[in-house]
Point group: C2
Chain length 214, copies 2
């Protein structure tokens, strides 16, 4: 089994590394970070670089495709080399997955047409013009397409996938070894739960950003 994690400039690091950490523990799986060219790829903060060990052209038939999000997803979703690679990889994949605004890249490749999907809460509505049906769920399965909400949700997605791939005991083993027994000291992880003034401030900010971009 080969798991390919796509990297592009200004990706969000936890979107990629969260599910990677869990999925890489599938016995016998080969996990590979891929990008236009092999070499370091910088994240959205600029202070982290993950190495892509392979070029897109070297990874043609992964079993699982994972697309992270991040500010750079807005360029990736218009990058024909990336989109062609995704369409080709998807043609033979068992699972095609994304975290956060990675779903915009999948949708940009036409892979979420008519499908239920999710994304970062600030980007959900952007799925609509791309043909997908946004949901407020944290992890969405629609056939072999699996999308997760913002950033940290990729860890939950990976546990769901581990259960489908190897059964409950594999998923539970990986959860135990990564000690994923969340105990956040605040309960502000979704727009329904966070203080309204924080949510409003970011919604207004997102609207400003979107209107400047369009």
């Amino acid at each position: 089994m080969q798991i390919a994690v796509l990297l592009f400039d200004r990706f969000t690091s936890l979107d990629a590394v969260g599910p990677y950490e869990l999925l890489a523990r599938v016995p016998g799986a080969e996990t590979v970070f891929v990008a236009h060219e092999p070499g370091p790829v910088r994240n959205d903060q600029g202070s982290l670089a993950l190495v892509a060990d392979r070029a897109l052209t070297e990874v043609t038939a992964p079993d699982i495709v994972l697309v992270p999000g991040g500010p750079g997803a807005r360029e990736a979703m218009r990058d024909e080399t990336v989109l062609s690679w995704l369409r080709a990889a998807d043609a033979t994949s068992t699972w095609t997955t994304s975290v956060c605004t990675g779903s915009l890249v999948l949708a940009g490749a036409g892979l979420l047409e008519g499908r239920r999907a999710t994304s970062h809460w600030l980007a959900l509505e952007e799925l609509v013009p791309l043909g997908a049906e946004p949901t407020g769920e944290r992890v969405v399965f629609d056939g072999k397409y699996v999308t997760a909400a913002g950033v940290s949700s990729g860890i939950d997605m990976a546990l769901h996938l581990l259960g489908r791939i190897g059964g409950d005991e594999l998923a539970q083993t990986v959860q135990l070894l990564t000690e994923y027994d969340p105990q956040p000291p605040y309960d502000a992880g979704s727009p329904d739960k966070a203080p309204a003034r924080i949510v409003d401030r970011w919604r207004r900010g997102a609207e400003r950003v979107l209107s400047q971009e369009s």
Copy 2:
């Protein structure tokens, strides 16, 4: 504010990237990955490399020190260059922190002498001969020393730290933007909760590994 994340061969990627993703969002913070030499550092799986942008000698007075764990922690805790760097950085740090078996490295540098601390559940007892007092808690504060349990617990640690550094609203904002609203499909994230046969199997395996090492 400067946040230094230590890298060493065979670190566990989520130990470093989980808290990094949250802490890097502190307004005005500079986050830097450091290692013996600048360049890519491979993780425990071998399939991920994070770039250290600075050598240890270039980062002498970080405000926050973060030490991840991983199989390589057992070499790092005996590496005099790493231990000397940690002692020097700790002399002026505001917070000295670790995730998973990163606490063994802090303890190896003598920084947890007489302090309450935690580690990966399979490594907790190894803190005792190093002078620390292990606890079963997920995140342990003892003065400026903050240790987190296995792998994913670094995310919870980072939220606690954000609250201390910038107040509840900063922590809640980062939790919302990283959509950290955990919904794991299993409840097996600690040895108290996972099926006993899985816990026993890994405890026996860990004992075997430890007796071979000693």
